[in-house]
């Protein structure tokens, strides 16, 4: 850093859907994450600041916010990586209603998850045998490649198609639907394909790949959605949906 800075200039969103950025000065430390910065403001400068976090170690996805224009896990974003000129601009995740300050209403995100039939529907009972699934079967490998989503909504916040198309189910919901489409134990595939083939489903995706670029779990919803496009097209041409 040029002029040996001892503090950061941090703009934080205050308010709800309407509001403004307010600026705070936060001591600059080595090994400081953006979550550390937000926490410092709330503890020492302004106790009325609202924000979410839980695990602090990149496992839960609760701390996702918009940092200098990009949605990130704030607990895993080192200040040195993003605050090039000692400036930070932190806002709530985009594409979601703002409850207060840095906390968004995640309900639309999860409602679309349900709309995409992103829940497992069992086809056996506890009295039946286990379903034998080879981990190296193509379907299981496809599901495993996409299964580690922790619903942090970074992809949803990054997606411009979500921004432009209020019907669009979004990358996370569709990515989860893809894992279930590949789960041979699941019994709701017909309904699921219908759900993701409807308006706002997988076909609305333009493959911008913002989701894939920004997913902290290195998932690739674009690829999952492409898989759904193939599956639904095939089902449509066969008259199944």
């Amino acid at each position: 850093m040029s002029d040996s800075r001892s503090e950061l200039t941090v703009a934080l969103w205050r308010g709800a859907q309407q509001g403004r950025y307010e600026t705070y000065k936060v001591p600059l430390r080595e090994n400081q994450t953006v979550l550390d910065v937000v926490t410092f403001v709330q503890r020492h400068l302004d106790p009325t600041l609202s924000y979410r976090f839980a695990c602090r170690v990149g496992m839960c996805g609760s701390c996702a916010m918009t940092v200098n224009g990009r949605p990130r896990w704030t607990c895993r974003t080192h200040v040195s990586r993003v605050a090039a000129r000692g400036q930070l601009k932190i806002g709530p995740l985009e594409n979601l209603p703002v409850i207060k300050d840095l906390a968004t209403d995640m309900r639309p995100f999860f409602e679309k998850w349900q709309q995409a039939k992103g829940a497992f529907a069992p086809s056996r009972t506890r009295s039946d045998d286990f379903a034998p699934i080879r981990p190296d079967s193509p379907a299981r490998m496809a599901a495993d490649a996409a299964i580690e989503c922790i619903n942090c909504a970074i992809c949803y916040a990054a997606c411009d198609t979500v921004r432009w198309n209020s019907d669009y189910l979004g990358p996370a919901a569709l990515n989860r639907a893809w894992t279930l489409v590949n789960d041979v134990r699941d019994g709701a595939n017909s309904e699921r394909l219908q759900a993701v083939a409807a308006t706002g489903g997988c076909h609305a995706c333009h493959s911008h790949q913002s989701c894939q670029e920004l997913c902290p779990q290195q998932l690739n919803p674009t690829a999952s959605i492409a898989g759904l496009k193939r599956r639904t097209t095939w089902a449509y041409l066969k008259g199944e949906i």
Partner: protein, 116 residues
Amino acid sequence: MNLRHLRHRESVLWIAALVHRLSGLALAVFLPVHFLTLGLAIRGEAPLESFLRWSDQPLVKFAESALVFLLMLHMLGGLRLLVIENLPWRDGQKEAATIAAGLSAAIAFFLLARML
């Protein structure tokens, strides 16, 4: 359309998607004009011939090359999407998008050079 957040859309692939959309819109605007021009022939050779003579000027030739550029961009970008959507996933999308743009520019430039 909200462009407030455009400043952090630096990704090659986002730009590629925007180029694909804008080129499609430009072609959609151009096509009726193109059809009307060709339709001049309905009244015989002379109206079409006089249009072709008018279009001989360098500025029009440049515009025609630009249209070929937009057509190639739109098609190559679209082919990249068809590959993503119908073939197993392959990385290197940014490279593919850049190559598509370069190839389109080369073809349009080649055409312009021949016409001038």
